[in-house]
Symmetry: C2
Subunit: 296 residues, 2 copies
């Protein structure tokens, strides 16, 4: 397919590489232009604006930081709005709020184009290896048309519902993973403080009811004393806040989620937002990388 | 081996069945005598007291409700203390506090016998099928001697450390699983309330960073609207309280664990302690079995 792609961060770079390798005809745009250069060498065109990238494209993929960045791609100088044509699809891989998503989709529809929200999970590695999980909100016929595009980047591709519901499911996934990560930190602390080695705890817990993706991520980080992202703490906090905001709009009271968000915020406030999300464990003295029980 | 086994609850019954099938020479005792009858038919002897069961046994397994029940088996009328002989092993499969465990082990040592704590995870199904995970606290040579006994009941058998540390790891496992279960309930509520079907959420979350044993357990319960235990809410609460008590003894502040324990206590206070632990989700209106979004 003829594809425009806007946003060459850690995730976008991996995804665009796979689109090119799958044989799609790709034009990229990135605010910081030098990030586009390697893709020119791979055969992609480089455009000077989102609007220029979109010209003639069937699919316009976005992967940017947050809702404000999506708004800038749509409404800013050289933005997509006004340049879109009927029959085009704007596919947003960013993680933003469901409410913003519905508003953006309406603006795009006013330009005659269609919107799908298609946030991803699987990290930078999944983006590089084309093994992402992609959750898609949008019309069924749009999802069907986009399959060759999505298949190039993901392994598990799920049409979850209407526009905005892709973002809802992304927030659900990240909310559940966030609570589980802090719960794992507190639980491991009980065992490590009692003198049980991490590998013995994990031999049991990965075979037991404690097992989770978050537990395994955290234990791996503790064992390697590795704090480089991965998935940054500030992005984790952003997603917890988006999930809690979505919950509040529905009138839902979620005490465990509210507390978890504040525990991540505490570490962000301590200046650790650019480190891996797992440094939330540093709020528990001795657990992570300061000579405490995780070293035993 | 020559085995005595005290406690024929849901877990004990499955475990004794596998001991007999593995060819061990088994004598059972249970406070409610009729529960022993099926095992007589399978070739086991039935004793009139823990002390009588223990006569001549190499291993005396216990699987009872709580620390008070273990104390009764040791110290009550016809109890083990006084009847134990040097060379015997008392192996406690109950889930009790690490502190109580160390005290019981000392009493048993005063009788010349050795103690191992060997709590299990894997549920009634794991007990029946011999696929339990067993975490063992005790001396290395005791662990080695007990292998034929433990292998008859479990698939993953881990020597985690000294006496008491088996219980520590059990509490760590159940603590982490308990927090993850309530986090999963809150997260699923966000998605279901926004109108996304449970099977679509799970298609994403089981392939994403949300994936956990607790999430899968809860989603299965919601899909089947099944509230029969399984693992009862009052046992889940007991284990959360034991874990928090162990944490407090070490001076650890665990905010997420403290809140999670209170959320389970709330449902126990609502008279749901005998139902499956997953009914903690009922505190979130509409989530579980009352015509709310889980039915969509």
């Amino acid at each position: 397919m003829r594809v425009a792609y806007v946003g060459l961060g850690i995730m976008g770079r991996g995804m665009v590489g796979n689109l090119i390798r799958a044989g799609h005809d790709v034009t990229v745009f990135n605010r910081t232009a030098e990030r586009a250069a390697p893709f020119r060498a791979m055969g992609a065109r480089v455009a000077a604006s989102p609007a220029a990238a979109a010209a003639g494209a069937e699919v316009i993929g976005l992967c940017v930081t947050d809702g404000a960045a999506v708004a800038a791609v749509l409404q800013g100088e050289g933005g997509l709005l006004g340049a879109l044509r009927p029959g085009q699809f704007v596919v947003d891989h960013s993680t933003i709020s469901p409410a913003d998503t519905v508003a953006f989709a309406r603006q795009v529809a006013d330009n005659g184009a269609a919107w799908c929200d298609a946030p991803v999970t699987g990290g930078d590695r999944g983006a590089r290896e084309g093994t992402l999980t992609i959750m898609v909100g949008g019309e069924a016929d749009a999802f069907a048309r986009l399959e060759p595009y999505l298949q190039a980047m993901g392994r598990t591709i799920v049409h979850v519902g209407a526009v905005g519901q892709g973002q809802v499911v992304k927030l659900v996934n990240n909310f559940i993973g966030g609570v589980a990560m802090v719960g794992a930190a507190e639980g491991l602390l009980i065992g490590l403080s009692a003198g049980v080695p991490l590998d013995r705890i994990m031999a049991v817990c990965t075979a037991g009811s404690a097992n989770s993706a978050s537990l395994q991520l955290l234990a791996d980080r503790l064992a390697r004393a590795d704090v480089l992202p991965g998935f940054s703490l500030s992005n984790r906090l952003k997603d917890m806040d988006l999930a809690m905001d979505a919950a509040r709009r529905q009138g839902l009271a979620l005490p465990l989620g509210a507390l978890t968000a504040e525990l991540f915020r505490e570490r962000a406030g301590a200046g650790e937002g650019d480190l891996d999300q797992s440094v939330v464990a540093r709020r528990y003295p001795g657990l992570f990388g300061d000579g405490g029980p995780a070293r035993t």
